[in-house]
Symmetry: C2
Subunit: 277 residues, 2 copies
C-alpha cells in the first residue's frame, strides 16, 4: 500500500515513525518545510519527500492529512485532479461536524474520505517532537459517513490498531464533537485559565507540586490550531464549560458553608469515577 | 540523630525510605496500623516500630509528623510529657496559618516546632504507595515562626535537601496558604469538578487523551484529608477559585463572540507562562 502523509509535524511525523516501525516502507511525505522533509528522510521514516505532492498522490492508496483543519478544504480543491481514483483520504482533525460538511461539498466522487481522530497529541509542534510512543494504547475515533465504503473504513481501523492504538471506535460526527468538547477542549480551556489566573511576581514555580504541573502542561498550546478547534465546536464547548462551572460552584458553596460532609461526598464521587477510568 | 516518624502512610513511608537511602539508620516509626509497621520493618526502612511511641519520643532528636492535620494537636497534648527537651518536631501539613496558631497554644516550651510542607504527594494513601522518588527535585516549604531556633530550622532544611528536595524555601505561613490555595488546592477542586461534570453512560474512557487523564489524576482524592485542607484554607481557596473562574469566563466570552484574536492572545500568554515554569 502506498501511503502519503501530508504535514510532517508532531502528528504526521509520529504517523511516519509508527508506520515505519511496523513495516510500512512505501510511505511518502509532503510538507511545506524543507528542513522537516530532510529530517524525515534522514530518520528513514519516509521513502521520499516533496513540498508539493502531485507525483505522490497519483499513486497513493491512502493519504493521511495532518495539517491545520482550515487547510484541508484548500488542499482538496488544489489537488482534486491529482488523486488516484478509488483512493482513501483520512485525517487527524479534532473536530468533525461542521468540518465534514465543508469537505463533503467539495470532495471528488471517486475519493473516499474516512474521517478519523487519533486521540494522541503533544503540547509541542513540529517533527522534532514526533514520536510513535504517543499512539501506544491511545484511543482512535472514526466518524463514518454514509458515502464511506465499509472496506475503506476497515483499512483505516486496521492501520490504527497496527500502529499501536488500543481502542478504535466508530461514532457519529455529532457525538464525537460533544465528547471531545468535554474530554479534550474543556481541559485545555481549564489549563489556560488556571495559569493565566496566576498573579504576577509570586515566583509560583517554587510553590508547585505535581498537581499544578499536570494541570498546566497543556497550557503550552498551539494557538493557531486550538483557536480553530474551539471556534469550530463552539456550542459543545460552551456547554461543557458551563457544566464544569456548575460543579465547581457546588464545591465553592460547600467550602463557603463549611460543609465537610458535602465536600467528602464530591470527593468520593470523583474518586470512584477516576478509578473506573 | 534519632528520628521518629509518626504516621507511616504515603508521606511518612516515603520519608522513611528516603532517609534510609541517604544513610540515616536511627529512624523509628509510629503507626496505629500493625500491618504498616510490619511492612516498614520488613522493608528495613525503620529500626523499630510501635503503635504508641512514648519510648521512642524520649530519645528522639527529631519527630516528623505525617498524620492528618486535625490529629496533630491531639498528638501533642497526649505526648507533652514524653518529648525529649530541646527536640525538634516538624510536619507535612498542607495548610499553615490557622493550624500553626492552634498548635502554638498547646506546644510545650522546650520543644521547637519547625513547620514544613514537602510539596510531593501521591493521590493514593498508605505505605504501599510510598516511594522516595516523589521527593526528588520537588519543592519544600518551611514557614518559620518567631520562636524557632535558627539551628533547628537549618536541621530540617538540610534534611530536606539531603533526601532529594531541590528548592527549599522559607516563607510566612500566610503567604504559604495563599500560594497553596492557588497551586495545590485549586487544581484539586478543578479536577474533582471536571470529572463530576461528566454525564453518565457516555463510556467516556473511550474518548479521552492524555489531557483528560492528566487533569483528572488528582480527582482520585483522600476525602478526609482534602476536606480538612480545603476548609482550613477557606478564604484563600475561594479567592483562587474566583480568579480562575474570571479567566475561564474570558475564554468563554471569546468563544461566544467568535473572537479568534482574543483566544490566541490567551493561548500565547499561557504558553509563555508554562514555558517559564
Amino acid at each position: 500500500m502506498n501511503i502519503v502523509i501530508v504535514g510532517l509535524g508532531v502528528i504526521g511525523g509520529s504517523f511516519a515513525m509508527a508506520l515505519n516501525k511496523v513495516g510500512y516502507k512505501d510511505v511518502y511525505g509532503v510538507d511545506v518545510d524543507e528542513k522537516t522533509l530532510k529530517k524525515a528522510e534522514t530518520l528513514g521514516i519516509i521513502k521520499a519527500g516533496c513540498t508539493s505532492g502531485e507525483k505522490f498522490f497519483e499513486k497513493a492508496d491512502l493519504i493521511i492529512l495532518s495539517i491545520y483543519p482550515k487547510l484541508v478544504a484548500r488542499f482538496i480543491e488544489k489537488n482534486r485532479d491529482n488523486f488516484k481514483k478509488g483512493s482513501i483520504i483520512t485525517d487527524a482533525t479534532g473536530i468533525k461536524g461542521m468540518f465534514i460538511k465543508d469537505i463533503m461539498n467539495i470532495l471528488p466522487e471517486e475519493i473516499d474520505f474516512v474521517f478519523g481522530h487519533p486521540m494522541a497529541g503533544r503540547e509541542k509542534k513540529g517533527i522534532d517532537f514526533a514520536t510513535d510512543k504517543v499512539f501506544q494504547n491511545a484511543n482512535y475515533i472514526i466518524t463514518p459517513i454514509e458515502r464511506n465504503k465499509e472496506k475503506n473504513i476497515k483499512v483505516v481501523e486496521n492501520l490504527a490498531r497496527e500502529i499501536g492504538f488500543k481502542i478504535v471506535r466508530r461514532i457519529t460526527p455529532e457525538f464525537h464533537d460533544e465528547m471531545i468538547g468535554f474530554t479534550s477542549q474543556l481541559p485545555h480551556a481549564m489549563a489556560v485559565a488556571l495559569i493565566n489566573s496566576d498573579e504576577e511576581n509570586r515566583d509560583t514555580g517554587s510553590f508547585i507540586g505535581d498537581s499544578y504541573r499536570d494541570l498546566t502542561r497543556i497550557a503550552n498550546i498551539n494557538e493557531e490550531l486550538w483557536s480553530e478547534l474551539f471556534l469550530g465546536n463552539k456550542n459543545n464547548l460552551l456547554k461543557a464549560i458551563n457544566n464544569f462551572e456548575l460543579e465547581l460552584d457546588l464545591i465553592k458553596k460547600a467550602i463557603y458553608d463549611d460543609d465537610k460532609e458535602k465536600l467528602m461526598e464530591f470527593f468520593r464521587k470523583s474518586t470512584i469515577r477516576r478509578e473506573k477510568l
